[in-house]
C-alpha cells in the first residue's frame, strides 16, 4: 500500500488559474472600434446649447450678436442714453415727477417732451 499525499486544493486551483489566465482573450482593436462605433451611433445629443446661426450676409460681433442685432441693440442704447441725459438736465422737478426709488418712466410733455428715468437708476 502506497502513501498518497493529501490533495492540495489551493495548489490545484492556482495551477488551473495560471492555465486559464494564459488562454484569456484580449479585447481586439476591431472589437473596440465596433463598441465605440455603437456608442457614437446611440449617443444622446450634446447638451451644449447650439449657437444660433448668423444671418446671411452678417457676421458675429464680440461672439454674441450678428451685426444686425448688434446695430439694433446699439440704437436702443443710444436712445436711452439721450433720454437720460435730457432728463438729468431738466432738473429735480422732472425727476421728482418720475418718482424716486423706482424705475419709472415718465413722459414730461410740459418740460419739452422726452423720456426720463429716476435718478437712482442712473
Amino acid at each position: 500500500m502506497t502513501d498518497k499525499a493529501p490533495f492540495d486544493l489551493d495548489a490545484a486551483l492556482s495551477a488551473l488559474a495560471i492555465d486559464e489566465q494564459a488562454a484569456r482573450p484580449a479585447v481586439s482593436e476591431s472589437l473596440q472600434a465596433r463598441v465605440l462605433g455603437d456608442a457614437a451611433r446611440v449617443a444622446p445629443p450634446s447638451r451644449t446649447l447650439a449657437r444660433r446661426a448668423v444671418r446671411s450676409g452678417g457676421f458675429r460681433l464680440f461672439g454674441l450678436f450678428d451685426v444686425w442685432t448688434g446695430a439694433a441693440v446699439a440704437a436702443v442704447t443710444l436712445c436711452l442714453a439721450i433720454g437720460l441725459g435730457v432728463g438729468y438736465r431738466a432738473g429735480p422737478e422732472v425727476m421728482g415727477r418720475a418718482g424716486l426709488g423706482q424705475a419709472k418712466i415718465a413722459v414730461a410733455a410740459e418740460e419739452g417732451g422726452g423720456l426720463f428715468l429716476s435718478e437712482d437708476v442712473l
Binding site: 490533495f7 488559474a17 481586439s28
Partner: protein, 201 residues
C-alpha cells in the same frame, strides 16, 4: 455542454471606483464620447472574459460583449446613480445574453429525429488545463451549483475579495464565505474520489 466558468471581474483589484463608472456614464449621457472610450477600456476586458468563459468561443464572446456594451450606452440617459453598480448590471446583462445564445444553439428538431448524443465536448477550461489533475478539477468546478461556482471562480481566478464578490453576486460577505466553504468542501471530496479511482500518478 457549452458551460465555462461564469464570472466577470477584471482583476478584483479595482483601480477605479464604481462611482467613477457612474460619473463616466453620466458624462456619456451628456454627449461626451471620450467617456465612452474610457468606459470601454475599463469594462470591456471583463465583459469579454465573462462571455468567453460561458460560451467557450471567442467570436461569440465578442458579439455578446458588443451587445452588452450597446445596452449600456442605451441606458446612459436613464441610469440612476446609486441604485445599481454598473459592473454588477453589466455582469448580469452579459450572463443573460450568453444564456440566450446557448438556448438558441440547441436544435429544435423532433425528439425521434435526434441521434444518440455525442460525448460532451470538453469545456474551455478542461481544454486549456495542462494536466490530468487540472482537467479533473475543471470538471469538478463545472459540476458545482452555479452560485458556488461563481463565487469560487471570482475568488480564485479573478482574485476578488469577498466583499467584492458579494457585491457582484448581490449577497452578503457571510453568504460568500458560506458559498466558498461549500464549494471547497465539494471539490476536495470530488478530487479525492477522482484520485482513488485513477491512482495518484
Amino acid at each position: 455542454m457549452p458551460a465555462m466558468l461564469d464570472t466577470g471581474s477584471d482583476t478584483g483589484l479595482d483601480t477605479h471606483s464604481t462611482d467613477d463608472d457612474a460619473l463616466l456614464l453620466a458624462r456619456f449621457g451628456a454627449g461626451d464620447q471620450g467617456a465612452a472610450r474610457i468606459l470601454t477600456e475599463r469594462l470591456m476586458p471583463r465583459v469579454l472574459r465573462q462571455a468567453w468563459r460561458i460560451l467557450g468561443d471567442e467570436a461569440e464572446a465578442e458579439d455578446v460583449a458588443q451587445d452588452a456594451m450597446l445596452r449600456l450606452w442605451r441606458q446612459a440617459g436613464d441610469w440612476r446613480a446609486g441604485e445599481a453598480r454598473i459592473s454588477t448590471w453589466l455582469y448580469r446583462v452579459t450572463h443573460n445574453l450568453c444564456i440566450d445564445r446557448i438556448r438558441k444553439r440547441r436544435p429544435t428538431v423532433p425528439i425521434e429525429d435526434v441521434a444518440e448524443p455525442p460525448d460532451p465536448a470538453p469545456s474551455a477550461l478542461e481544454r486549456l488545463a495542462n494536466s490530468e489533475e487540472s482537467r479533473a478539477l475543471a470538471r469538478a468546478i463545472l459540476a458545482l451549483p452555479e452560485r458556488q461556482r461563481q463565487a469560487l471562480v471570482l475568488r480564485h481566478f479573478e482574485a476578488m475579495s469577498n466583499p467584492a464578490i458579494g457585491e457582484r453576486l448581490d449577497c452578503s460577505v457571510e453568504a460568500v464565505e458560506s458559498l466558498l466553504a461549500r464549494a471547497r468542501r465539494q471539490l476536495t471530496m470530488d478530487m479525492s474520489k477522482e484520485r482513488e479511482a485513477f491512482g495518484d500518478d
